[in-house]
Symmetry: C2
Subunit: 201 residues, 2 copies
């Protein structure tokens, strides 16, 4: 669906292996000693390459932790395009994010990784940034779906807020409940909330 498919040459195989060795070494060391306690040099040494080689594979220290997920964007767009009949766009996005980004991380096996990322500002920010990269693609998919013009501000807003909903949810005690609250707001608006007195149309 993307690159040179199955027949990888020896070259690309070795390249991928080096890259993987770097990512593995980095994650292991970060989990063992903490992100700030591990230097680029340590990682390169552990993977038995030079630091310059490391930077040819990864754009920076934080990138070592995140797999550059190409499919993630496709899945997000598909969640909108191929949602079941009768399901609204916000509902489709809520379910997709809940399934792929909240429930998965809730697995106790991911706890140390989760703790590493959320406990390191540089990693939290970087993760958030690459997640938000899907904003324009998602906005476009929503616009197409609803027949709105390219770059319609309402679609752009929904796309942005839907992606941000993940950050909101993660900052709360009960992420699932918080995600529901955020998407209820996006679906029905603040005026639809119970304790919303003093409102004007």
């Amino acid at each position: 669906m993307s690159e040179t498919t199955p027949p990888l040459g020896r070259r690309e195989r070795k390249k991928a292996a080096t890259r993987q060795a770097l990512a593995d070494a980095a994650l292991r060391l970060f989990l063992e000693h903490g992100y700030d306690q591990v230097g680029i040099k340590d990682i390169a040494e552990a993977a038995d390459v030079s630091t310059t080689t490391l930077f040819k594979h990864f754009s920076g220290k934080e990138a070592l932790v995140f797999d550059e997920d190409d499919d993630q964007e496709a899945a997000l767009v598909a969640a909108v395009r191929e949602r079941p009949d009768g399901q609204s766009v916000p509902a489709a996005l809520r379910e997709h994010i809940l399934r792929t980004r909240i429930d998965v991380i809730a697995d106790p096996a991911f706890a140390p990784f989760r703790q590493l990322v959320m406990g390191t500002p540089a990693l939290r920010d970087y993760g958030h940034r690459i997640w938000m990269r899907h904003e324009t693609a998602l906005a476009q998919a929503i616009a197409e779906d609803t027949g709105a013009p390219q770059g319609d501000p309402a679609c752009a807003a929904l796309a942005h807020f839907a992606l941000e909903a993940l950050a909101v949810a993660r900052g709360q005690d009960d992420p699932r409940k918080a995600l529901d609250a955020a998407f209820d707001l996006l679906a029905h608006g603040w005026h639809a909330l119970p304790g919303c007195t003093r409102s004007d149309p």
Copy 2:
């Protein structure tokens, strides 16, 4: 309203002067040559202080560009608390943000500054981060206003989205229109939009 009020000692006066000299020199140099072309050393020299002194006044290179606005948060909270009768929370926030963060910047005199910040990823991100710092205070103000419990996820979501609306608006051709679209979404929900077929309750 905050610090040692009028009677500033010589010490604090000089300190403030040094700080201002640094901020002025930084902004001037950044505007002249671009953020990445100016080093910390250049700024310190222009303000005639050592680089160590610079870092005693500012937490980092990006902070030189932004006045650490203490009142900003107070104004945001006040916009919710002291809004006119009959105005909803989203409407109050929309107006406040439009007035203090969109219309002001639209002044052509701010164009170079605006261009500097928006054209420099490090500055754009930093500015966004300090703006989002008001999230919890705003969420609390909203919760108090509506009688919701502390840390209510719907209030947290509204606070987050309302602040993010600024970023959405700035990324569009017509920021004012985009801000309206974003706040319409927050106020009335996606289901209230015209081209919103295939929706479920």
